[in-house]
Structures are given as structure tokens and as C-alpha cells.
Symmetry: C2
Subunit: 338 residues, 2 copies
DNA sequence: CTGAAAGCGCTAACAT
DNA sequence: ATGTTAGCGCTTTCAG
């Protein structure tokens, strides 16, 4: 049988209030009784119940994390950083894979609320973002992670997607590419990345073809299909910007299946700088998000909320960084020949 | 302000006991009042507090999952399956990355206990497994996942590691390999896989060299170092069995850095059949764990525990399956020449 | 079929 | 410096 605060109080010959005070280090307790209570706690292996304390003290020391799929390396890596930051502050994380399905997301949201989590981190996509409204009205802080939804008045910690797209395309253009395709995932991030890319093209006086810009989901297969679509025709792009690494891997596989050499026949640039980009052959050039910083900031914001009930909403935008791999190359006469 | 059971009771003109009964579908409630209460609940957007109910009803609808690192694709994939099974039963999962450090693991264990989770799934490694003892004595069910520690009397759901190692080596032998190296991760699984492999060699009358069997941690870098160690000498194995896909990727990179062609100059076989094995070039031959089945069984076992307080401990061993990739090849005269 | 009442383990005034 | 007491929101006998 697990021992309770009563057992400790009785064994130590004090009241439960005193025990509570030494546990929480509140109030004034003489060093002598403090020591004694501590000793008894040790002896009885007393473990304060988080559940009971949450019912009064208002804290569950738990955050909820909604992501599309923990099996996706980008989210797994983000989850790891978030968890580390949370643990450092004594919090743990409930993970919720939504597959970007609104219904499942809402179910999780309500479940998390019923569990009285101390904060929710949203890193998944909603078809209908207004579903979030009821939760934004709550006491529980909500933070959008790696995602910016302009229409929503909510704390946001993200990377500058527009800038990332711009950097990717700018880099390709500098390498001499003029025929550039984009495979993006549906959702706000994808759109911003596309826009950023288009701006870079516009500034360079390059036009783009709408059939070379496709929106898909974010599996490898989606990237494969999207790229295949562009590459099968005789006139094809000399470079493709895939808006995340999973898609980029799909693009790479499509190129390989079509007998195209990367980067000789096709340059590919990804986004996220996940494990994937480092293990494919050739190593992907990719736009890196500072996930670690983002995770740190996210958790800090959540923690600050605990003390300061209502901080005004803030959006923090981190800058992405291009990581050079071997999947991109300058356009050469040879690659223009075919 | 969130509405409580009292608000609903008052608005519906009934007692909180009645509301509780319709929420939990217990006792006998007339259809008429049930409807009314339900309607009021809807109107007031009443969300029963999991915390309060856990304090009495004994259920938090939460499982804890200890794994070495969620950023490792094998664990991320396992977590996803476990989560799906858990959600189907109304449970959610707290993830805990321990990096296989005993201290951190124990901290998490105690935290989970304080949170009164309804079960713990252990998928990480302990240097000192006896640290688990105190938790095995508890009410809270504990399950070892994808790991078998013979010395521990605990529910276990795992893959037949010995058999997996056997299959891997048997396959290589059938391809004509005689010079076989093994890179394994420290821990019970790694050991079993090595033993299985050794048995296959023994049965085939092949001897092994102890310097070609190395134990390391489980990062890509570890696999790289381990392989490099074996491959740099003039006399090197013609095939390497890496005891998980991360290691296999490291082995592959080492081979590439040394100018060895895979599979022509070196065959590589991995373990786990994760995403990684599918995206590297060449695609890895690997031993697949039926993670989905294992996850299903694990959660079911945990759930059964809720009703039947003390089921006798059981170990369930699933059979692995070899997935043929392009990283293995028969020994040919050409590859024997160098 | 419904309600009153006694906790679950803990926190936080308020007394002493 | 320490103890008393009133809840937190809900479940569960036990009466009615």
C-alpha cells in the first residue's frame, strides 16, 4: 500500500500541514522537525501524489504535444528537444499523433483539457483552424510550434518559412538553375515556403510554371508522386525544392527510378535538416530549423504562463539556415544537353 | 470558468450522484433524467475532470513509456503503434526519453508513479536492472517491450532476438559468406542476437573471430566506428550483421568512406526494418520486428491488468522476419579477389 | 430510480 | 513554528 501524507504525519508526530510544508518548501518549519519529517518520508518511501496535489494546487506538471505523427523524424526530433526542456523544469509530455485529422486533433485537445495539462503545444495541421478557438479562450496556454497561422491570435514559435523558401530558391538560382520545381506540403508552412521561393524567382526575373508547383501531403510517397509528375515529361525542371526532408527523399527516389543522376541531372533541396537528410545518398542540401532553440523558447513561454496568468500573445520567428549537402550542383553544359 | 459536476447537477435539478451515474453509465437512471442531464452537460460544455476522478476512481487513463530516445526511428515507430493502440482504448501516453541512463530512468519511473499512471512500458536499457524491482512490487503493471531480461520476473513482449540473429547469419551463410562480422549494441537484445548468429555459424561449421564481434552503443556513429575498426585491415569480413538499423547505416557509411561497394565488396544486414532501412542506398536487408503486433499485445495486456488485478506474469515472444533489400549479395569470385 | 454523505490525498488560509 | 479546517471534483456505498 502506498503511503500518504497522513502516514507520514502520524509517524512523525506532526500534522499533515507540516508535512505538506516541508514537501513544498513553503511556510516556516524548524530545521529539527524538517529533518525528522524528511527522514520519515524516506523510511516510508513517501511519494506525494501528483493527482491529489493537482486537484488543489492546480498543477499537473504535464504538457500536451499535438503533432501529426511521431514516426516522422522531424516531429520525433522536435519532441525530443521539447521533452528535454520540459523535463529540466519538472514537466513531462503527453504525445498525441493526430495524422492532421481535425477530428482526432479535437478529441485529443479535449482529452488534454480534461487531464488538466498545464499547456498545449500544437505542431500539427488543422483543416479548420477555427476549431482551436474554444481552447484559446481557456486558461490553459496554447502554443503553435513550427507553424504560423496568421488568422489565429495565439502564441507562436516558428521558423521563418518565407525566408526559408527564399533561401532555398535563391541558392538554386545562384547555382544557375532557371527551371525550378517545388513540391510542398499542404498547410500554412508549405504556402509560406512556396511564396518565399516565388519571391526569390521574381527578384531574379525568373518565371515559374504552375504545373511545377504541387501541393501534397508529407509522406515520402507523396514526394515521389509529386516529383514523378514533373520529371516524366521531356521538359523538366533542373532543380526541385521539396518543402521538407520526407518529400525530398521521395523526390530523390523518383529521380533514381527515372534514371536521373542527383545532382548531375537534377538538384534537390530539402527542408528541416532531419536525420533523413544526412543518411540518404547523396546527402541532402536542406534548410535547417533551429529546433533546439525553438523548443527552449516554447517551454519557457509555457512556464512563464504558469506564473503570469496572462502574458500578451507573442510570435517568435527564428531564422532558418541553409545546410549544404551534395544533392545540389551548378547547372553545367552537360546537364543542359538532354 | 470550467463547469463542474455541481453546476450540471444544479442546472438539471438532480444530485451530483445522478450526474456521475449518467456520465459513467453506472447504476440505474431513468431514460428521461438521463436525456435531460445529457442535454445540460452539452449546454454547459461539461468536461469531467480526469484528475478528480483519478483521485477516487483509481484511473488516470495514462500509460508511461520509457524509451532510450524518441528521436531514434525504431522507438518513434514503436511509440506510434503503442499510441494508436492506447488511444483506441481511451488512454494516452507520456513519453520519457532516458538515453539509457539509469538515473534518468529511475527519476521517470518515480515521476510516473507519482502521476499514478495505469501502466508502464519499458523499452529502454538499464545498466542495473535491479533498479526496476521496487516498481515490480507495485500495483502498477510494468511491461518490458522489445527486450528480454531473463533475470527479471516481469511481463515481457518482445521479438525472438536469438532467432533474429540466427536468421541474419544463416542468410549470409546461404549466400556463401564465411567471413562475417557483427556489430551489436550493448544490452540483452544485442547479446541474444549475437548468440543466435553464433549458433548459425556453429551449425554451419564456421568459426568466428572475436575481434569481428563488437559491442557499442546504438548511434550511427557507433556503427560507423565499429565497422571501420573491422574494415580497415587487409583481412576483413565479407559481410557484417548490424544489430539494428542505426548501426547498419553507420556500417554502410564506413564502407562507403573506405571505398567499398555495398553489396559487391561488403554485404550488410540490419535489424528492425525501420524507415532508415528503406531510404538508404542500397536499401538494407534487415530483420523485421512485428512492432504493430507487439504494440497491440502490450496495450491489451496492460488493459487486462486494470480488470484482473494480478494476472500471472507472461512473456510473449514474436518471431522476426527477414526483409530482403539490396545490401546483401552472394560471394562472387570478383569479391573474393581483393 | 435518486440523493445524502463519506472520503480520495493534498493545499492553503486561518488559528493557535 | 505548528495545527485545524475547509475544500478541490468526483465515485461510491447506503438509504430512502
Amino acid at each position: 500500500m502506498k503511503s500518504t501524507i497522513y502516514d507520514v504525519a502520524k509517524a512523525a508526530g506532526v500534522s499533515i500541514a507540516t508535512v505538506s510544508k516541508v514537501v513544498n518548501q513553503t511556510g516556516n518549519i524548524s530545521e529539527k522537525t524538517r529533518k525528522r519529517v524528511l527522514r520519515i518520508m524516506e523510511e516510508l518511501q513517501y511519494q506525494p501524489s501528483v493527482v491529489a496535489s493537482a486537484l488543489t494546487g492546480k498543477k499537473t506538471s504535464t504538457f500536451g504535444l499535438l503533432l501529426s505523427n511521431i514516426a516522422n523524424p522531424f516531429f520525433a526530433e522536435a519532441a525530443r528537444f521539447l521533452e528535454d526542456e520540459a523535463r529540466a523544469a519538472g514537466y513531462s509530455i503527453v504525445m498525441c499523433s493526430t495524422d492532421n485529422e481535425d477530428e482526432r486533433s479535437v478529441n485529443y485537445l479535449s482529452l488534454l483539457q480534461r487531464k488538466q495539462v498545464d499547456g498545449m503545444i500544437i505542431a500539427c495541421h488543422f483543416t479548420d483552424w477555427s476549431l482551436l478557438h474554444p481552447y484559446l479562450a481557456t486558461e490553459t496556454p496554447v502554443i503553435l510550434f513550427s507553424k504560423d497561422v496568421p488568422s489565429l491570435n495565439v502564441h507562436t514559435v516558428t521558423v521563418d518559412d518565407h525566408q526559408g523558401g527564399y533561401q532555398a530558391i535563391e541558392y538554386l538560382i545562384a547555382k544557375g538553375h532557371r527551371q525550378i520545381g517545388i513540391v510542398a506540403e499542404t498547410g500554412p508552412s508549405g504556402e509560406h515556403r512556396i511564396r518565399g521561393g516565388q519571391q526569390a524567382m521574381k527578384e531574379a526575373g525568373i518565371s515559374w510554371r504552375s504545373e511545377w508547383i504541387t501541393n501534397v501531403q508529407s509522406s515520402i510517397q507523396d514526394g515521389y508522386n509529386g516529383a514523378r509528375h514533373m520529371l516524366e515529361h521531356s521538359e523538366r525542371p533542373s532543380a526541385i525544392f521539396a518543402c521538407n526532408d520526407m518529400l525530398a527523399v521521395g523526390v530523390l527516389q523518383a529521380a533514381q527510378d527515372l534514371g536521373l543522376q542527383v545532382p548531375d541531372d537534377l538538384s534537390i533541396i530539402g527542408f528541416d535538416d532531419t536525420l533523413l537528410s544526412q543518411i540518404v545518398q547523396p546527402r541532402l542540401t536542406t534548410i535547417s530549423q533551429p529546433i533546439s532553440d525553438m523548443a527552449h523558447h516554447t517551454i519557457q513561454l509555457l512556464l512563464r504562463h504558469a506564473n503570469t496568468p496572462d502574458i500578451s500573445k507573442q510570435k517568435v520567428i527564428f531564422q532558418p539556415k541553409l545546410m549544404e549537402g551534395r544533392s545540389t550542383q551548378s547547372v553545367t553544359p552537360a546537364s543542359n544537353m538532354d
